[in-house]
């Protein structure tokens, strides 16, 4: 009984936590994409942008499709060089190396797997779920409202070999 109550509470807390299962907004996608400009070694030319999702989680699928549509329709005002590619989180390793990955909503259970991939391939991972960056599993966390916030996990950045310009680092939150 107690265990069931604890699990129930945990699920409730996870549901309440900001970013948990919440769809990524267009503004957050725009902010995340713009962060790429401030990498010390950004990708050159046309580069794939992995939209990492879990086909078994509806929230994740819907979010990834929204992200892809925004990017394809140029609503995200992204750089032409970034080409969106939907990537099943379970098939990450079967795909070519991605330099940039945007993590769709509802992917909490896969943060460890994504981080392992990012560390091996020096991938910049971006998420609108700040719990990912706070846990050191994503390099960049973004918030769109009420105020744009960019949070960098220095530990994740170090692990993944990601560096940002000095001026940019001074204007974001690092932890």
């Amino acid at each position: 009984m107690l265990r069931a109550l604890a699990v129930g509470m945990l699920l409730l807390i996870l549901a309440i936590l900001p970013g948990s299962g919440r769809a990524t907004t267009l503004n957050e996608l725009q902010v995340g994409i713009r962060v790429v400009d401030f990498m010390s070694k950004p990708p050159h030319g046309k580069s794939p942008l992995a939209l990492i999702y879990d086909p078994q989680v509806k929230v994740s699928v819907d979010d990834a499709l929204s992200l892809s549509n925004w990017l394809s329709s140029n609503s995200a005002a992204s750089k032409d060089e970034l080409v969106p590619v939907l990537v099943d989180v379970r098939q990450l390793d079967e795909n070519p190396t991605f330099q940039i990955g945007f993590i769709a909503a509802g992917m909490e259970r896969h943060y460890g797997r994504i981080f392992d991939y990012a560390r091996r391939n020096q991938t910049l991972t971006i998420s609108a779920d700040l719990s990912c960056v706070r846990a050191g599993k994503c390099t960049v966390g973004v918030v769109g409202t009420p105020r744009v916030e960019v949070v960098i996990s220095q530990q994740a950045a170090l692990s993944c070999g990601i560096e940002f310009s000095e001026a940019f680092r001074m204007m974001v939150t690092e932890n």
């Binding site: 400009d37 010390s40 680092r169 204007m171």
Partner: protein, 664 residues
């Protein structure tokens, strides 16, 4: 001609680019503003930061604000901010003050264009029309109130105005504006930006302004010679390139030629001022942080200066400045900045009969910014300045100083400390303390020594001496401010208060007292205290209603009396309301400034001066703009629907004008 200029390409052979530079970094204001959805600045602390994050109380005028203002010049724009006072010496010449002290030709604020000081070193003065910048190329104007000597050195004791222009790579400006108005106003400005290979660009801007001289209150046969029509011609070049390896280079060059009339205490001036400047800067990311190097050279030449007591003279001032800085982030919460600066300033004057006064300055500075938590951060900075004075050549007639008297040095330590607490999502509190150092100008030290026979009733005449023994004065500034966002009306409110202490000031030999003495020697006299409160409320949108207003109460208490003791308008109110829809925009700006004391000049040989009252005055300036096509904007504006006086010798007349801007 359009967008292609062989001349520009020839002028920039150093821009050799590589595809590898495609993502090169630099402090690109537009790029950061797009990321954060708000302007960014590096003026407040020397560290790039979002305006809402800076611990320093600052104001920002954006390009959109400028477009909606209807203002023709920068002093008119700045005068609409809380805590900024404007006094006109003529229709085109204005002096600005921040924080309760303003006297003609006695500037205490530092003005910069993209970080280059445009302050006229020799006279310690900002001659606004000589600034080689046109309204259309301004991205934002950053205004920092209170002493900023720890960042900008001697003389930034009451505040800093940094004018940031659009980036020639990322923000092309291609427009032409023609303006016609009463008082024979004829203005023309044009900018053209030429991209060079995608990672470099150059902007060329030229402008010419002309109007009739108006508003001289006491115009008689003895001073009509000083009422020449104001003219201004300006040309500037701004080139930048992103270089491989995160480097960024920028070259800026400018030339202005200005003729204008003004006043100083008790006398009329008419001068032609020719200013030439060239600046090169380079920044790059390195293992020890972001390195910036800047070198610039500015020459301010006055081929003629006509002043009633002095007669004709020719002044020339050259300033060579080199700056190096290293900005780095240590860990997750600390940023450091180390800086070195060297400056050589030399001024010659016909008044000095061939002499040259020089000032060599060396400075070292450090800044530490610490983020206590996402809600609290602070910045501390300090700077040491060493100044070496010198003079060579022939002194003035009846000179009481030898060149050896100028062989001396001064030094000073400045400090700034500020804290921001974001106490809620809608509330920020800022506290700051500053210790600034004010250095006398080269003119104060010794360039204006002169024999003034017309002021004397005795055969010995009157000798007017500057003084090489002048000292620095220290300014202490304390500020507190509270910003609150009012969700219900989507407006931002600010309440701020300050307390300023200036320990010493230069006793101005302004002749106001009319005493007949054989010599006037400038000396250091006790300074003053000023206290003030500022209230500001504003709601800004692109479409729909926009409105705002501010009220400033300043009280000045001078410890010495130069004839104008405590002369300062205590109350000032600015209000604006506007509406924009479907390409139309209309705005109305109004101001009220309370009465104060001023100098009455009675023309004659010699002119005489007395203290009188400048009445309280109202300013009303409407404008209406129409974006007729994507590339065509028409604007009808008026300045000063009621003529007013903010100084006794000058009345600001009503002016109307029509502007047409074509973008290409």
């Amino acid at each position: 001609m359009r967008r292609t200029s062989l001349l520009l390409l020839v002028a920039l052979p150093w821009l050799r680019l590589s595809a590898d530079a495609a993502w090169a970094q630099g402090l690109d204001y537009g790029q950061y503003e797009a990321l954060f959805g708000e302007p960014v600045t590096s003026s407040a602390t020397g560290k790039p930061e979002r305006v809402s994050d800076t611990p320093i109380l600052m104001e920002l005028i954006t390009a959109e604000d400028i477009k909606r203002s209807g203002a023709r010049d920068i002093p008119s724009l700045l005068g609409r901010l809380a805590g900024i006072d404007v006094v006109h010496g003529s229709s085109g010449m204005a002096d600005l003050g921040i924080g309760g002290y303003i006297r003609p030709l006695t500037s205490r604020i530092m003005v910069l264009i993209n970080g280059r000081q445009v302050y006229y070193d020799g006279f310690g003065e900002v001659l606004w029309p000589t600034l080689a910048v046109e309204m259309a190329e301004i991205r934002q104007i950053e205004v920092i109130k209170g002493s900023q000597s720890a960042l900008y050195g001697f003389n930034a004791v009451d505040g800093v105005v940094n004018i940031v222009t659009f980036d020639p790579i990322a923000d092309p400006v291609n427009s032409l504006t023609a303006r016609l108005g009463n008082q024979a106003r004829r203005d023309l400005t044009a900018s053209v930006t030429q991209p060079l290979g995608g990672e470099a660009g150059v902007r060329l801007t030229a402008g010419t302004d002309h109007a009739q001289d108006t508003g001289m209150v006491t115009k008689t046969s003895t001073n009509t010679a000083y009422a020449k029509d104001p003219n201004r011609r300006s040309v500037s070049l701004d080139a930048a390139a992103n270089l491989p390896g995160d480097g960024r280079a920028r070259l800026e060059a400018s030339h202005t030629d200005v003729s204008a009339r003004t006043i100083a205490s008790n006398t009329f001036f008419d001068a032609r001022v020719v200013t030439d400047s060239i600046k090169g800067s380079y920044s790059t990311e390195s293992a020890i942080g972001r390195l910036d190097g800047t070198v610039y050279y500015t020459v301010v030449d006055m081929p003629w200066v006509e002043a009633q007591p002095v007669g004709s003279s020719h002044n020339s001032d050259g300033a060579l400045v080199g700056q190096l800085s290293d900005l780095l982030k240590v860990g997750t919460d600390d940023s450091l900045r180390f800086g070195l600066e060297a400056r050589r300033n030399a001024m010659t004057s016909a008044v000095l009969q061939g002499g040259t006064v020089t000032g060599d300055l060396s400075a070292a500075s450090a800044m530490w910014d610490h983020q206590w938590s996402p809600r609290f951060s602070m910045v501390n900075s300090a700077r040491y300045d060493y100044f070496k004075l010198g003079r060579s050549g022939v002194g003035a007639r009846q000179d009481i100083f030898s060149n050896d008297a100028f062989d001396r040095s001064l030094e000073g330590v400045s400090a700034n400390s500020a804290l921001i607490g974001k106490v809620t999502a809608d509330d920020s509190v800022r506290l700051s303390f500053a210790r600034g150092v004010k250095l006398p100008s080269l003119a104060n030290f010794g360039i204006l020594q002169h024999y003034l026979p017309q002021y004397s009733g005795s055969p010995n005449g009157l000798n007017y001496y500057e003084n090489p023994d002048l000292a620095t004065s220290v300014v202490y500034d304390y500020r507190i401010g509270w910003d609150h966002h009012i969700d219900a009306v989507d407006a931002t409110a600010r309440v701020a208060a300050f307390h300023d202490i200036t320990t010493k000031s230069i006793g101005t030999a302004n002749l106001v007292t009319g005493k007949r003495v054989t010599a006037i020697l400038e000396t250091m006299v006790p300074g003053w205290v000023s206290n003030g409160v500022e209230l500001d409320l504003r709601h800004k949108v692109r479409d729909g209603w926009t409105w705002g207003g501010n009220y400033t109460f300043d009280r000045l208490h001078e410890h010495s009396d130069g004839g104008l003791r405590d002369a300062f308008p205590e109350h000032k109110i600015n209000l604006n309301v506007g509406y924009a829809l479907n390409g139309w925009d209309a705005d109305l700006y109004g101001s009220y400034v309370s009465a104060t004391k001023g100098v009455v000049i009675t023309p004659g040989t010699p002119p005489t001066a007395a203290v009188g009252w400048v009445k309280s005055h109202y300013i009303l300036s409407p404008h209406i703009g129409w974006q007729a096509r994507d590339n065509l904007r028409v604007e009808l504006a008026a300045e000063n629907l009621w003529p007013y006086q903010d100084s006794l010798p000058q009345r600001m007349e009503t002016s109307y004008y029509l502007s047409v801007t074509v973008s290409y």
